[in-house]
């Protein structure tokens, strides 16, 4: 039992640094979010429980939880929450915060995929689906990647045949014309956000 139990310290930290974090205190622990999440059976903590843990000051347990990484962005929780909490956004915000602090679970597949996705789109302004897919398969190394890739060969081949996958994308693919402008916007936005949330860029 730490001294900070049920003190507002962590709640205030979440309010200051996490997207929609100021809404956490409004939860009344009804649990409708917990029962509405399609990936509910898989996570450690339900959103409502995460919110209670924040209020109880359990910083480490919250930020290292896998719960936020199970969000499929289905928005069921938001649609049903009787307090109209933007639960999806809070969970995304917590994930982002935990990730930026380096406290999110290491090797969490969605965390890795999400990072890759952003980097992929940020590079050329548009998503390169092939690189994203391959990048994802090869995230654990060449061997695992080949295995994964082979396992999913049928999927890729099907898409290729249906003209919905372009092997040539590996050499570039779609992109934004004003790439430097796009990059400047992202960089500036990141800079403002980090300043606002007190995070080191």
């Amino acid at each position: 039992m730490t001294e900070a139990a049920y003190r507002n310290d962590f709640l205030k930290e979440v309010e200051a640094h996490v997207e929609a974090g100021h809404e956490v205190k409004r939860c009344m622990q009804c649990g409708v979010c917990a029962g509405s999440c399609p990936f509910g059976p898989y996570w450690q903590h339900s959103p409502q429980k995460i919110f209670m843990m924040i209020r109880a000051g359990k910083r480490e347990a919250v930020l290292s939880s896998d719960a936020m990484w199970m969000c499929t962005s289905c928005y069921n929780c938001i649609a049903r929450c009787p307090r109209k909490l933007p639960i999806t956004h809070i969970m995304h915000g917590l994930a982002n915060y935990a990730h930026r602090l380096g406290l999110a679970p290491k090797g969490q597949p969605t965390r890795d995929f999400a990072v890759m996705f952003w980097q992929n789109l940020a590079r050329r302004g548009r998503v390169n689906e092939l690189k994203l897919t391959l990048g994802h398969y090869f995230k654990d190394g060449i061997g695992a990647g080949i295995k994964q890739g082979l396992a999913m060969k049928a999927v890729g081949l099907g898409l290729y045949k249906a003209k919905r996958l372009n092997p040539l994308e590996i050499f570039g693919g779609h992109k934004v014309a004003d790439l430097s402008g796009f990059h400047a916007i992202v960089a500036k936005a990141r800079e403002i956000e980090d300043r606002k949330r007190g995070l080191a860029s």
Partner: protein, 429 residues
């Protein structure tokens, strides 16, 4: 009845449910003249549909009988049914009220013998049974209806059926030419006892009311439990008429929910606790099972005793959870999905029947109140700007019957104060 029947020392009470009847009778028993108007063909309101009251498990119609007897014995209350207030002009102490009286097609001399109903075959949904049964289009609203007079449903007016009903009436009580009437009254004060309506359960989409036949409202469940109801008191589920033995009660169905009703409707926890006892009563062998899914059990003050008794009932279990969703299995059984938040326990539980403890929405939301009436964010009446009109009972706040009657009694005195002050001012002027 429709002449100049009121003066500015008269009170108008809008709504003939328990709050309106109470306000009218309490004022009349203080010697005041009262006009009591009711939109429906009978007095009695919501509580007349209930089987039992918590926490005594006594019968609402018992109180209704006493109030009707008070009414029959008191010449100071004039009752106008099928009547709505369409306008209130004037000011505190001197209102001019316009009433619209819908045609009943049956006159005061009806003896309630039932010959008209016998003579016709058209049926309509039985409003008293919340549509769980049908009734003839010439009908007595229910066994305790007051005035004890039949009503002809407008749907048969102009048909041969209506003529048959008319012909069957030996006392000539049916008047098919009856038309809507507009009446004006002078009154000194108005009490709005317009009550509540169940929140539209179909709007609580994850629970599938309207899509799943075995998801019903707490009000419908009252009718199932009532031996005078459509199933003779048997808890038969709507889809297949099978006895429902494993019943889920879902609290806060609409209440405490910013997507629906912001407020807590106060009565629903107690209503569900009460209804678990109907289940016990229906299955004396103990085979009935009730599960209450709740956020907080609001068994306030002495009601805590009742809660403790129900907790001790082996047939009742409690799960602290707002149910996330209901799906229907292939046999028409509702399956409840959610998480028990005390600790963390995911469930997918099959029940025979689901009862939604639907919240109270002010009926005033569906009528046009005078502009000077101030309501809260849910539509409950707070007061009137000129201090001459008052909300009473569930029109003013989501209240149980006991508190609604207190509220109505208080409203009666406030209205009397207005009349006495007006009289005092006039006599000194």
């Amino acid at each position: 009845m429709t002449g100049n029947i009121a003066t500015n020392s008269t009170l108008l009470v809008v709504g003939g449910g328990i709050s309106g009847m109470t306000a009218a009778l309490e004022a009349a028993e203080c010697g005041k003249e009262v006009v009591l108007v009711e939109k429906l063909p009978t007095l009695g309101g919501r509580t007349a549909h209930l089987y039992r009251y918590f926490p005594k498990m006594c019968h609402p119609t018992c109180g209704l009988e006493i109030n009707l007897r008070r009414l029959k014995g008191n010449r100071r209350v004039r009752v106008l049914t099928m009547t709505e207030v369409v306008a209130v002009d004037g000011e505190r102490g001197d209102y001019r009220v316009t009433l619209k009286i819908a045609p009943r097609y049956v006159k005061d001399n009806c003896t309630a013998c039932g010959d008209c109903a016998e003579a016709i075959s058209s049926e309509i949904a039985n409003v008293y049974e919340y549509g769980l049964a049908r009734t003839k289009a010439a009908y007595l609203p229910h066994v305790m209806a007051y005035p004890q007079r039949y009503v002809l449903d407008p749907s048969i007016i102009g048909t041969a059926e209506a003529e048959q009903a008319k012909a069957a009436c030996k006392v000539g009580a049916i008047d098919l030419g009856m038309a809507e009437e507009t009446v004006q009254l002078n009154v000194g004060s108005v009490i709005w006892a317009t009550g509540w309506r169940p929140y539209d359960a179909a709007r609580i989409q994850p629970y599938g009311y309207g899509r799943y036949r075995n998801v019903i409202t707490s009000l419908e469940f009252e009718r199932l439990a009532d031996p005078r109801g459509p199933t003779g008191g048997k808890l038969l589920r709507p889809s297949d008429g099978r006895e429902a033995k494993n019943i889920a009660f879902i609290q806060c169905a609409g209440s405490r929910d910013e997507n629906h009703l912001r407020h807590c409707s106060r009565i629903c926890c107690m209503a569900s606790l009460k209804q678990t006892q109907y289940v016990g009563e229906a299955y004396p062998d103990g085979s009935g099972k009730s599960t209450i899914y709740y956020i907080d059990i609001r068994a306030i003050d002495r009601f805590e005793d009742f809660y403790q008794n129900v907790q001790a009932d082996p047939g009742v279990s409690f799960i602290k959870s707002k149910v996330a969703s209901i799906v229907e299995d292939k046999d028409g059984n509702p399956v409840l999905h959610g998480v028990d938040t005390e600790g963390y326990h995911r469930y997918a539980t099959t029940h025979d029947l689901v009862v939604l403890a639907v919240g109270m929405e002010p009926e005033a939301n569906s009528i046009r109140l005078p502009d000077s009436i101030l309501t809260d964010s849910s539509g409950f009446i707070e007061n009137s700007a000129d201090g001459g009109m008052f909300g009473a009972g569930a029109a003013a706040s989501p209240l149980d019957v006991n508190r609604a009657v207190q509220s109505a009694t208080a409203a009666a005195l406030r209205a009397i104060q207005v009349i006495h002050k007006t009289a005092a001012t006039e006599s000194t002027a």
